[in-house]
């Protein structure tokens, strides 16, 4: 009996391995994309729609457009559970590509992961891409040639948050004397906006109060009692995971109007508001990755992927959720970077160095956004040697109790104000590591 069981187990494993190959076997004429995913564990509720969005878009490119200029995309997932050690292991395993298909970039999908891989990426010449996250000073590509906190770094998130609040108050000059409390996740991610908030407070004359919430943040009475005592004009909520719905509910309990709370990029998904129930109605959040399906790309995906039963989503109710759209946007940025690189290097798979060139010359303007179906879903993006962020804009969306509703157009960060802060930090890093910055002007 026991032997039969053992044989059955071995047979099942063998059959299982044969029955579940990667999306497609890599070949040397394909472009390989490593994927550090988290479909199980504490962050699975974010990860599952995220990678469904990415994979659906890659499938659309392969099956409808025939690949990127004929180059098929192949990918391999590594389950990381959002653990840094596993992200690093995934990077090490897949950085050279697979079966002859090269790796042109590595999406870390994790700010701690970006920090951990910073030096490895530079040494291996593999661009590390982290949309809406990453190490802020790596915006300065002259010091960080292989790190890309693309789309919107943390300083820009703070600046856009303040610009939105100023808009609601009637102008930046109206911020003087206002009290703005930042309730933040007590981690590198949460603390990242302290420096720009200090700078913005000095410039605009508002009172900047920072209140940390330790991970995981499932009990926040003490923090919100402090907030109530302060009587803030606005609260900027920079939490993550379970700490966001708990914050929204606790704020309501302490009588703080949800309409005076602005969440940042990572506190603005369905998973953040649904558990908070009616307390979240009216909550606003920055949205460089807006939710919804009212965009051209969703119509195309619905026709060719969702309705054909080819989606990676097990439950298509989640089509168009914020995290699904984050996946879509990341995938579109990757594809557009490959197209950019192919213009210089030819229609073939790119390696890491070529991938870096591609990202540094990525220019997705309004016309291109319209052509690829991302108008309104993604802000125009233009990177360079010295600017690895390339965007720095977000819309604001508001939860109406059922869905996110976009309430603004794109709001841009104050790059002129933030840039010296970024350059000072990158210069300090260069000094510490003995890096001679590239001459970006000469590389133009």
């Amino acid at each position: 009996m026991r032997k039969t069981l053992q044989y059955s187990l071995v047979a099942s494993l063998v059959l299982g391995l044969q029955a579940s190959p990667p999306e497609a076997w890599a070949a040397d004429d394909a472009q390989f994309i490593p994927m550090a995913t988290y479909r199980v564990g504490a962050y699975a509720s974010s990860g599952i729609p995220w990678w469904a969005g990415e994979i659906d878009y890659f499938r659309y490119i392969n099956e409808v457009e025939g690949g990127v200029n004929g180059v098929k995309l192949v990918w391999q997932e590594c389950e990381t559970e959002w653990n840094v050690d596993r992200i690093v292991e995934c990077y090490e395993r897949l950085k050279t590509g697979q079966d002859g298909a090269p790796t042109a970039f590595f999406f870390t999908h994790s700010t701690p992961g970006s920090y951990a891989l910073m030096e490895k990426g530079a040494a291996d010449r593999i661009p590390l891409i982290d949309g809406g996250g990453g190490r802020t000073e790596s915006t300065d590509g002259s010091v960080f040639p292989y790190a890309f906190p693309i789309l919107m770094n943390y300083y820009s998130q703070a600046s856009v948050g303040i610009n939105y609040i100023a808009g609601r108050e009637g102008g930046l000059d109206k911020l003087k004397g206002k009290k703005i409390v930042t309730v933040y996740h007590d981690s590198a991610y949460g603390r990242e906006t302290q420096a720009p908030m200090k700078l913005l407070a000095e410039k605009y004359g508002f009172e900047n109060i920072q209140i940390p919430v330790a991970d995981p943040g499932n009990e926040q009475s003490a923090q919100w009692r402090q907030v109530r005592q302060i009587k803030p004009d606005w609260v900027f909520l920079r939490t993550w995971g379970v700490s966001t719905p708990v914050a929204i509910k606790t704020a309501a309990r302490f009588g703080i109007s949800v309409e005076r709370i602005v969440g940042d990029v990572w506190a603005g998904s369905e998973a953040d508001v649904i558990p908070a129930g009616s307390a979240a109605k009216g909550y606003q959040a920055l949205a460089p990755f807006p939710g919804g399906t009212a965009f051209e790309i969703h119509q195309r995906l619905k026709q060719y992927i969702i309705d054909q039963g080819k989606s990676d989503l097990k439950d298509t109710r989640y089509f168009g959720e914020v995290y699904y759209n984050i996946g879509l946007i990341n995938a579109a940025i990757a594809v557009e970077a490959l197209r950019t690189g192919q213009k210089k290097f030819g229609n073939r798979p790119l390696n890491g160095e070529e991938g870096r060139w591609a990202f540094e010359h990525l220019d997705i303007d309004a016309a291109r956004l319209k052509a690829i179906g991302f108008e309104g879903l993604l802000a125009p993006l233009k990177l360079s040697c010295s600017d690895h962020e390339g965007g720095g804009a977000a819309r604001v969306q508001q939860w109406d109790g059922q869905q996110w509703v976009l309430v603004t157009d794109w709001i841009r960060a104050d790059h002129q104000l933030l840039r010296p802060l970024i350059e000072a930090k990158s210069a300090a890093y260069a000094k510490e590591k003995g890096i001679t910055p590239r001459n970006c002007a000469a590389e133009r």
Binding site: V40, A42, I48, N218, R225, V242, R253, D315
Partner: protein, 293 residues
């Protein structure tokens, strides 16, 4: 003074939610000497089952009953597949088994019922109530009342039923209990089933507060300092420990936090537990054991 009182009362009430989680640990530890690392996973499984049933249109009370039945069946399976084969093994072996069990239950819960975050509405408004100038959460008051009710039910179960007497006999002296014919396997099944139902109650209250999601299994981290302070073998200790932890961490966050940068609640509870370990290693109400070495 109002701020101090409000923080203190809020902390005490929040502490009852920690106690609810700790009680599940105490039950199993009393009966089998096992520190059940899977209690958090059981809590997650119970809450996910309840929410999944409700999503299928099952009424509240029926969902509650069905989830209790599921947890009881789970207890039978755990006893038969995990505990019985390991009987007479060391405590660390059993602890490691529950560690593995927690991963299996978490995986099973997400595999069967999905990983999406779900809202849980118990019909208790989380609104402020004012007593003079002091604000108290209505939800916390209900949670505290639930904890009190649960303790009364468990006290009745342990003190006034045949099963309860058997449970206490096993807890006092397992060999003596066996020698008079008490069925240890049956006792374990009952205790794990009761711990599952306690997990359900805790899971519902925590789930209503933060949503039903994977991180529910992490609330056990709040129970550990409660157990160290209150003692691993006393339900009353779990209640008192929870109150102490809740009040202390809230007061510390309000008064010490601003001086050292804030965000101190998670480690302050463990700091407090460490002090208790120095002064009273068995906890306030734990049984002191004397062993020949």
């Amino acid at each position: 003074m109002t701020f101090f009182l409000e923080t203190l009362i809020g902390g005490l009430l929040a502490g009852t939610l920690y106690s609810l989680v700790a009680i599940g640990f105490v039950l199993i530890y009393k009966a089998s000497g096992v520190f059940n690392f899977a209690q958090g996973a059981m809590l997650l499984f119970a809450a996910l089952t309840f929410v999944s049933l409700q999503e299928q249109g099952v009424p509240f009370v029926l969902a509650l009953l069905l989830t209790s039945v599921v947890m009881a069946i789970g207890a039978l399976i755990i006893e038969r597949a995990v505990l019985r084969p390991l009987v007479n093994r060391s405590q660390i072996t059993l602890f490691m088994a529950t560690l593995g069990l927690s991963f299996i239950i978490e995986g099973l819960a997400q595999g069967l019922m999905g990983a999406q975050v779900r809202a849980l509405d118990l019909g208790i408004d989380d609104v402020p109530l004012f007593f003079g100038e002091i604000m108290v959460s209505q939800f916390d008051l209900v949670a505290a009342a639930t904890a009190a009710l649960l303790v009364i039910v468990l006290a009745l179960l342990f003190n006034h039923t045949r099963i309860g007497v058997s449970l206490r006999a096993v807890a006092d002296d397992t060999r003596a209990a066996l020698s008079i014919g008490i069925n240890l396997n049956r006792i374990w099944q009952i205790v794990w089933a009761v711990a599952g139902v306690v997990g359900l109650v805790a899971g519902l209250l925590w789930g209503a507060r933060q949503g039903v999601q994977f991180s529910l299994s992490l609330v056990v981290l709040k129970a550990l300092p409660v157990l160290i302070i209150g003692g691993f073998t006393s339900i009353g200790g779990a209640i008192v420990g929870g109150l102490i932890v809740g009040a202390a961490e809230n007061l510390a966050e309000a008064y010490i936090g601003p001086l050292i940068g804030g965000g101190i609640t998670p480690w302050f509870a463990y700091f407090l537990a460490l002090i208790f370990l120095y002064i009273r290693p068995a906890g306030l109400f734990g049984e002191r054991t004397i062993e020949r070495v």
